[in-house]
């Protein structure tokens, strides 16, 4: 008994150094290196759970054309250095694609992935200008970037105020790259549409917001757009109440989910809005199937409550898209699947809606975003109710900014 344990122990020790060598029918390896400790912990557990769930599900159904998917998991703690280590390790273990869910890590790994020609998914994180597939051939946002979301929020505001020219929009954001990123879009839109824009930076870690909200109160905005996440919304809403700003003026970036409203109170949070790129809730057939095949059988990768929440669904949708890209790659170019074939597979996605979970996207070698359609949803006390159709607003302007930035990158800046 003890011997056997020792053997397992030794082999795991060995494995951790040598990498897993499990030979099935040519598994397709996907590197999932996430941040379980620092800035992204609010989302990481559900995010990882969704990806693991869907991979299990696909494998149970016989994999992609017989090829199972293997996830190579690890933690990078939002540190560029550890992210690079994890990337190098997984790459060596044969991963052909990566998701990091961390802006700093994505940015640090990006030059390496480009150099190594390894596909890097960057759902909701990383460089927004990576939508330009011509400059970033191996980087795939395949979902609306922050810039697309920012534009859509303005569209929603324009639709809901009397006159956008006289509207006042407050933009409050975490004062580091994640929050600063949409500023160029807002500035460009403010110039074009004529609304008054004022910026309210919140310094890290974002827990001290009292001064910011005093200023917002004085600004008397029609809407407040917020680029922060998780419990920081709580603090924001508490401060809004203090300052007697109605909570329904609050429009958040995608990072707010039902769980985040819990400690503020579901009822009190009524009217909060968010921009979303995927369908949430458990109504869709594919999610029902996941619940049935995995969770009813006790094989779920995490708590059942997480299924259907935003962070879960975002990751789930991404993985559905990746798997579809893998399938197309295998179908068109044959096994074994390589990064390059996956890239071409992803680039041949056409009107793909991830089994009804998002607005259809079409990826081309030039466009790695695929449409950038999002919608605004409002919290009604128990769930998020869509307020608009899938929409990609001001996409000319967004693409202009994308091109400006990617050109800068290309020219070596």
């Amino acid at each position: 008994m003890f011997k056997k344990q020792l053997l397992v122990l030794m082999s795991t020790v060995l494995l951790t150094f040598a990498g897993n060598v499990i030979a099935a029918k040519e598994p397709i390896k996907f590197g999932l290196t996430l941040d379980y400790t620092k800035a992204y912990v609010f989302a990481t557990p559900s995010f990882g759970q969704a990806i693991e769930d869907y991979v299990k599900y696909v494998n149970m159904k016989g994999g992609i054309d017989g090829h199972p998917i293997e996830l190579l998991n690890s933690d990078h703690g939002n540190e560029p250095q550890r992210g690079i280590e994890a990337y190098e390790r997984k790459k060596r273990e044969g991963a052909i694609a990566f998701e990091h869910l961390s802006t700093p890590v994505s940015k640090a790994v990006l030059p390496k992935a480009m150099n190594d020609k390894v596909v890097m998914m960057q759902m909701l994180t990383g460089r927004a200008d990576a939508a330009d597939g011509e400059v970033f051939p191996y980087i795939f946002p395949v979902s609306p970037t922050y810039w697309a979301m920012a534009a859509n929020i303005i569209q929603y505001i324009a639709d809901n105020v009397k006159d956008i020219k006289k509207a006042k929009v407050a933009f409050t954001y975490l004062d580091y790259p994640f929050g600063q990123e949409p500023i160029p879009i807002y500035k460009a839109l403010s110039e074009e549409l004529g609304f008054e824009l004022k910026l309210f930076p919140i310094s890290l870690p974002g827990t001290d917001q009292s001064g910011v909200w005093s200023n917002i109160r004085r600004f008397k905005p029609d809407y407040v757009i917020s680029w922060s996440f998780a419990q920081l919304h709580n603090i924001a809403m508490t401060e809004m109440k203090r300052n007697r700003i109605p909570v329904d003026k609050y429009i958040s970036v995608i990072w707010i989910s039902k769980n985040d409203l819990k400690s503020y109170g579901f009822e009190k949070a009524k009217g909060v809005k968010r921009v979303e790129g995927v369908v949430t809730g458990t109504d869709s057939p594919i999610v029902q199937d996941i619940l049935k095949t995995l969770y009813d059988a006790g094989k779920g990768s995490g708590p059942r409550e997480n299924v259907g929440l935003l962070y879960y669904m975002a990751a789930f949708t991404e993985m559905v898209t990746v798997v579809e890209g893998m399938r197309l790659g295998l179908e068109k170019y044959g096994a074994p699947l390589t990064s390059e074939k996956l890239k071409m597979g992803l680039e041949s996605l056409k009107d793909f809606d991830a089994k009804g979970l998002m607005a259809p996207i079409t990826i081309t070698p030039a466009d790695h975003q695929g449409g950038g359609k999002t919608r605004i949803a409002e919290w009604d006390g128990s769930e998020w109710v869509p307020q608009s159709d899938w929409n990609a607003a001001y996409s000319d302007l967004v693409w202009r900014v994308i091109k400006e930035h990617s050109a800068k990158y290309k020219s070596g800046q």
Partner: protein, 357 residues
Amino acid sequence: MFYRQAAIRHTSYDQTKKLYPIPFDKWLVVAVLLVALLAPFAMSGLYLNSYLLPWVIWSTAALSLNLLMGYAGQIHLGYAAVMAIGAYSSVHAMRLGAPFEFALILGGATAMIIGVGFGFTALRVKGLYLAISTLAVQYLVDWVLTHVPAIGGGTQATLQTPTPALLGFEITTDIGRYYLALGWCAVVTIFMLNVKRTGLGRALIAVREKDYAASVLGVNSYYYKLIAFAVSSFFGGVTGAILAFTFFGAVTPEQYSIDISIQILAMVVVGGLGSVLGSFFGAGFILLAPLFLNNMVTGLAEAYDFGVSRSVISHIPLILYGGLIMLFLLFEPLGLAKIYDNIRKYFLVWPFGFSRR
């Protein structure tokens, strides 16, 4: 046995001042150097890029900080900021068209000038105040990097590093980048080894130990503290630039955050204050132990399914840094270097261990 001292007779002062008076030490160093030189050819990209290369770079950083902390006895809680200054200045210099060699030196010089500037502030006061003011410097630099687009790179807060080129040869391969880092590491190492045996090192230690006694020997303690600040900052700046050019390929504020400062501090303390060898040990330990531990705990958790939450696993590096700093300070203030030294001393007289007191 190994470190045989018998039959070694030094016949001149010059010989006793050699870096490695005992032949075994010398051959050990030669062997390590050979391994370091040949490693990239025997090693996969993974080990080269994510273990050996960062180890070499962080050892250099730890060495540079050790000059200030180990020799001059000044705590620096913002060393990553010093490295950031070097990295950003050299990246900007290259983007403006400066050749790589010049950009490196410029990076070091900028870090030195700013470092010494703050040194002037800090050196008027005792260790504690110095520590706190360097912490403040870290915050100031962080702020500048994230709020001055001309320096930090604007919206994306990322600047890609241009391709480094030595004497006109572009360095594009992993091996080339590794040699670049190794070369710089060798320069700093040799300097630090020399410090041990020259008047500079003695003066620094004198100032650290008893500055009043140093002053009656004609040692200007203020001047030597500034020298330590200047040289350490210069080395730190260049190392920061090397880190950006060879490892990250880009500069972002996160690469030089307060956490990194603490990490280097831990390397120095765990490795051994004032020890060259210790800096290598400390950097290796602090850098690689969490990686291995993390991978191992994850592997074990998967094999046994004992459901350690990932969140708990992921806190291990922090616990390790903090715990090790405390344990070493409490039980072996001279760090890993001292432990090595004890072993070495044991073998110096082996098998006649009883001859020692």
